[in-house]
Symmetry: C2
């Protein structure tokens, strides 16, 4: 009960801050953002000190290199956070923007106007820059935010959240507009997901445990979950281009959701493409797992199990499938993709057109790497992450995706007949 | 278990029909719609015969006039259904429409393209035209639809659903793309709301019982629920205009969600406005319930209880509140509105601007009747209803609101640095 009142208390403060936040002017919000960027730079030493406590705990717990790497802040990363806040300040304010406007025959002027969503709860893991990025984006879009980071980054997150609260206060805004929940009890999420009156949207960024914890949530969820991405090398592919795209999609950052997990190859070019590609993968330290036809061409690949086609490795592992046709490639991708990002490499315009239409993923690429699925790369200036939802927002999430709209109708006495 | 397999069987058929439906051409969809309009006209006598069975049951059950009125089909209403289907055919196909396009500095061309949502389940009550309107809209937007109408209109709905299936089949499309569930067991809804793999979105149109039945649904819901609408007559209102707007908002169709339930009046004009308005209400047979200040001016009004301010009458009843200021009016509306439609009548541009910004409702009117909150009046050509949600779509729902989007990215070998 103590935990429940603690969580509900925090959410109630955020809800109370939301109406004023929704009406904050662009100048007020940008001034708070500039305060925040300054405070991040001025507090670099303290941020690093807080981060060291998290790193010590991670090391005591025997955490691995990739985990520690994601958790670590250094002066370059702190500068990057400050810079990202300035970039959010420089972005146009979405609130009040007119999406569409029409005048009806009866003279009514109908404007569809962007407005904040309300209270957004971000539940995230590990990387502490999410505290700054998500906090800054949510309040630039006029929302109140509730941030609930992972326990592994607690010290760093709590310090950064205090900087946000101070920046809001210095800017004349309510510090509760970005409320940080520092209690790391797992039960916190169970309490949060029941608060339909206090939270308008939960944005979870994390792995399977978080997905499981939020199942059946009465509060709407905009999941940022799985990335099981494919690249299909068509028979009409430029094989040199295919090579660079596949190497980039697999190797440039294997631990992130937009990296390639499965390569699909048309049988007509498999014998020409796979041996050289396998050599590049070997050089990059990538373990290969293939179907029977792949293994005939690449004997060093081990046999892929049924499970492999549905596994997001997030690691230097790649599964390879040889197909007879574009149809088979599309059907295979539709069955196994997490629908985040899938690519075709082809010089055949008709094959490209079919792939674009028939692969039902948030981002569908023709002749480019799936690694571009990212708010910065899309030109959104910043992102809370990448939505794997079909409703409300799909793919990279920027400021606009953190808003809803209302219709404002101006009349001069119209009544309905 | 028999019921569960029946419902899951129907949903599975709809899910299987969805991918082909998503790729249906505009010509295919419009041809099916034209078949449907023709079939509705050709079957008018049979539709009326089916409808008579529903009307007989309603009469046996001792249903009231308004209920029977909503349920009844006659030749004019059947012609209106056929015409509405033709209007949906005439609307532009949303699928494939490019919402935004940009070219990134690296040459990637990013297009945000409208695509169908997938499988939409409509759960609705009483009016049988919803079967035709929702079915036609869902499949024009490339979705598969599952229709679950109320038991009171079962015969009519089932007959109309058969016409849709036949029209799809004649048009070379899969009749399962609009699947009707004829089992009226209440448990059907409980089974449906658990099928996160089979349904992408539930659109419920109905009253409190339906709202209650869908609470905590794991399948996302786009509710079409309460309409507790206000009109605020400001001290700077043109009182003649205010009179016509208020009479229209209350009396033109009191049983629908966009009609006015509460009038809010600035004290400075209350004595001038209310007596004449009360006389008009009396003439129209409207019962008045007021706060103390209202009752000093309109003694025939009975006392409004706390409950009145939160009651959607959907009837010839109106509650009236006198306020001291625009601030009080906005705060009162924010507290009691269902946030569907609220209006201000004022000649003061600054008051209008504040009301527009600060009243957080799906549709906010200045100097017009709330009765315009309707897809047809907004120029959408047709509607599934009016969303009372903040996420995905808010207010009147037309074809665009039944879609989502994906990003299609065209490159020429780009890889991420």
């Amino acid at each position: 009960m103590a935990l429940e009142s603690e969580v509900i208390g925090a959410l109630t403060r955020a809800r109370a801050a939301a109406p004023r936040m929704a009406l904050a002017t662009t100048a007020e919000k940008n001034s708070a953002l500039k305060n925040l960027a300054g405070a991040i730079r001025a507090s670099a030493a303290k941020i690093i000190a807080a981060n060291r406590k998290d790193l010590k705990r991670a090391s005591d717990d025997g955490r691995t290199g990739a985990f520690v790497e994601r958790l670590t802040l250094n002066s370059a990363r702190i500068e990057a956070m400050a810079h990202s806040v300035e970039e959010v300040a420089a972005l146009p304010d979405p609130v009040g923007g007119v999406i569409e406007r029409s005048t009806r025959p009866n003279g009514l002027e109908i404007s569809k106007v962007r407005v904040p969503l309300g209270v957004i709860a971000m539940i995230y893991e590990s990387r502490p820059n999410v505290t700054i990025d998500a906090g800054a984006l949510c309040f630039k879009a006029g929302n109140a935010a509730v941030l609930r980071g992972g326990k592994e980054a607690l010290e760093t997150n709590a310090f950064l959240a205090n900087l946000i609260a101070a920046a809001l206060k210095d800017g004349g805004l309510n510090p509760d507009a970005v409320t940080f929940i520092s209690n790391v009890d797992r039960e916190v999420i169970q309490i949060m997901k029941q608060q339909v009156e206090l939270i308008d949207l939960i944005i979870p960024r994390g792995g399977k445990a978080l997905k499981e914890a939020l199942k059946g949530s009465p509060v709407p969820i905009l999941p940022h979950f799985d990335g099981l991405c494919h690249t299909y090398v068509d028979r009409a592919a430029d094989l040199k281009m295919a090579m660079e795209i596949c190497v980039n999609a697999k190797c440039s950052r294997p631990s992130v959701c937009n990296s390639m997990e499965t390569l699909v190859v048309h049988r007509e070019i498999a014998e020409k493409f796979l041996p050289a590609f396998a050599a590049r993968m070997k050089a990059a330290g990538v373990e290969l797992r293939g179907d029977e036809r792949t293994r005939k061409i690449v004997p060093e690949a081990c046999a892929a199990s049924d499970e492999d086609w549905d596994t997001e490795y997030l690691d230097l592992i790649l599964s390879i499938k040889v197909v007879d046709s574009l149809d088979e490639a599309i059907a295979f991708i539709e069955r196994h993709s997490s629908h985040l990002a899938d690519a075709i490499v082809t010089a055949d315009a008709e094959a490209a057109r079919r792939f674009e239409r028939e692969v039902d993923s948030a981002t569908v690429y023709v002749n480019a790497s799936t690694r571009f699925t990212d708010g910065f790369e899309f030109g959104f200036g910043a992102e809370t992450g990448i939505s794997t939802n079909r409703l409300h927002a799909r793919g990279p999430m920027g400021l606009n995706e953190l808003t809803t709209y209302k219709y404002v109708i101006a009349g001069n006495g119209q009544v309905r007949g």
